[in-house]
């Protein structure tokens, strides 16, 4: 799906994927979509929970060759 910014957080361990995601999100307007690539498996549940608590929408999630991809719409 389409995204406005792509954040490469591959190879980063917790808490960095969320720290970076949060920072990138600050540069977006409401309704825009951030695409995130991570390799830390723990990010799966954490990004979903973080989106929810921050009022964002986790639109889609995919897994390709050990890379987890997330699309989050800013709320």
């Amino acid at each position: 799906m389409n995204s406005d910014i792509v954040l490469d957080a591959k190879g980063l361990a917790c808490p960095m994927p969320i720290v970076k995601t949060r920072k990138a999100m600050n540069d977006l307007q409401t309704g825009q979509v951030l695409e995130i690539h991570v390799t830390d498996k723990g990010a799966k549940a954490d990004l979903a929970a973080w989106s929810k608590s921050g009022g964002h929408e986790l639109v889609e999630m995919a897994e390709e060759n050990d890379i987890l991809k997330f699309w989050i719409r800013k709320g």
């Binding site: 361990a13 917790c14 808490p15 969320i18 949060r22 723990g42 954490d46 929970a49 973080w50 608590s53």
Partner: protein, 375 residues
């Protein structure tokens, strides 16, 4: 103020000694609710680390000033971040070294007791996952039973006390954790014994462990007698050690009984489970001390951290052994089953040798509680 690390071994001592500890668990809410460190006198606060990125000021009022505070996360990274923030805010705190990953892997050896002629039996308590494994030591030789995949814990222990592992046994094909049995056998050239009915699909050589089989450890003849006791799996086999201890595998626990559905349908094996618990075990001496392969709740631990109780006491106190009505029993073990252990099918395939996931993947497969029991 400072922040320091606390190891899983140090936390284990606090669990066993029932010490006070305040745990700030910074994992997400669902992971925390699914599985956490348990201790009689532990207090908990769960605030995900991603809610603390702006600062910890808002939670300072919820933290005690008269107790040790331990910050816990999945793998350590986030707990270090939060511990550092708390120390900058003026608190003395600890973080759990290696996080829940290390907690899940820690084994605490507890000496259970002496056998004939100076032989001994030791229990390895995996507090983080509720798994119990054993080492029977006699006259320079040892048998390891229901080992976890952290095989160095057993090999180092055997080295320290100067014994050689000659036999490795599993009571059944495990579905909640990856057995280290095959690897210990490879490293030490020990024989690896498995119940043949659970081993029908395994891809490696093993010795068939059948009812009536007696395995002798050391010259002083410490006997391990196999007793076919199906119900948790079709092959489940219990061991009577030195006519004193009953290693009940995942059939009978201290405060619960085994679930019959992890390798098939509950209906298939509920009859076997009933017969094992209500007939086969009834014929054994009440004086046998039951040593199970799991515990479910921390209250099942004895004062010294061991998990053990007389069979006679369990027949009096364990609810699962006291359901006279067979239909009611069937209802209990087929109706209200807890969720299955994480990745239990993959774990079974790994234990059969069908797949060989790397260590990182194995860790991930084992995350969470064991969930082998019904109450």
């Amino acid at each position: 103020m400072a922040f320091k690390q606390m190891t899983a071994a140090e936390v284990s001592k606090k669990v066993i000694n029932k010490t006070d500890l305040f745990i700030l668990d910074v994992r997400n809410e669902s992971d925390f609710n699914d599985w956490k460190i348990e201790g009689r006198n532990f207090e908990f606060l769960n605030i995900p680390y991603f809610d603390l990125l702006d600062g910890v000021e808002e939670i300072l009022g919820q933290l005690p000033d008269n107790k040790e505070i331990l910050v816990v996360c999945a793998k350590e990274g986030s707990s270090v971040m939060v511990a550092e923030m708390l120390s900058e805010a003026g608190l003395d705190v600890f973080y759990l070294k290696g996080g829940m990953k290390a907690w899940s892997e820690h084994l605490e050896p507890v000496r259970i007791g002496e056998l004939t002629n100076g032989a001994e039996i030791h229990q390895f308590v995996r507090l983080g996952k509720g798994c119990l494994s054993y080492m029977v030591v006699s006259n320079g030789e040892a048998a390891v039973i229901d080992s976890t995949r952290m095989i160095d814990a057993y090999l180092d222990f055997a080295d320290d006390i100067g014994v050689k592992v000659t036999h490795v046994l599993d009571t059944h094909l495990h579905a909640d954790h990856i057995s280290g049995g095959r690897r210990i056998a490879e490293v030490t050239n020990a024989a690896y014994w498995l119940p043949p009915k659970d081993a029908a699909e395994v891809t490696f050589e093993y010795q068939p462990l059948e009812s009536g089989k007696v395995i002798t450890i050391g010259h002083t003849a410490i006997d391990i007698q196999a007793l076919y006791s199906p119900g948790h799996t079709i092959g489940s086999t219990s061991f009577v050690v030195d006519q004193k201890y009953l290693l009940s595998g995942d059939i009978l626990f201290i405060d619960s009984i085994g679930r019959p559905d992890l390798a098939g349908l509950a209906e298939d094996w509920v009859g076997d489970l009933r017969e094992t618990l209500y007939t086969r075990y009834k014929e054994l001496s009440d004086e046998l001390i039951v040593l199970p392969s799991h515990f479910m709740i921390i209250d099942e631990l004895n004062e010294d951290g061991s998990v053990a109780k007389k069979l006679g006491t369990l027949f009096a106190e364990n609810h699962g052994l006291n359901i006279a009505d067979e239909t009611e029993f069937r209802g209990l073990v087929t109706g209200n089953l807890p969720p299955q252990p994480n990745a239990y099918q993959e774990i079974r395939e790994t234990n059969m040798g069908k797949i060989e996931p790397d260590v990182e993947k194995q860790r991930e497969m084992e995350i969470g509680p064991n969930r082998c029991a019904v109450r």
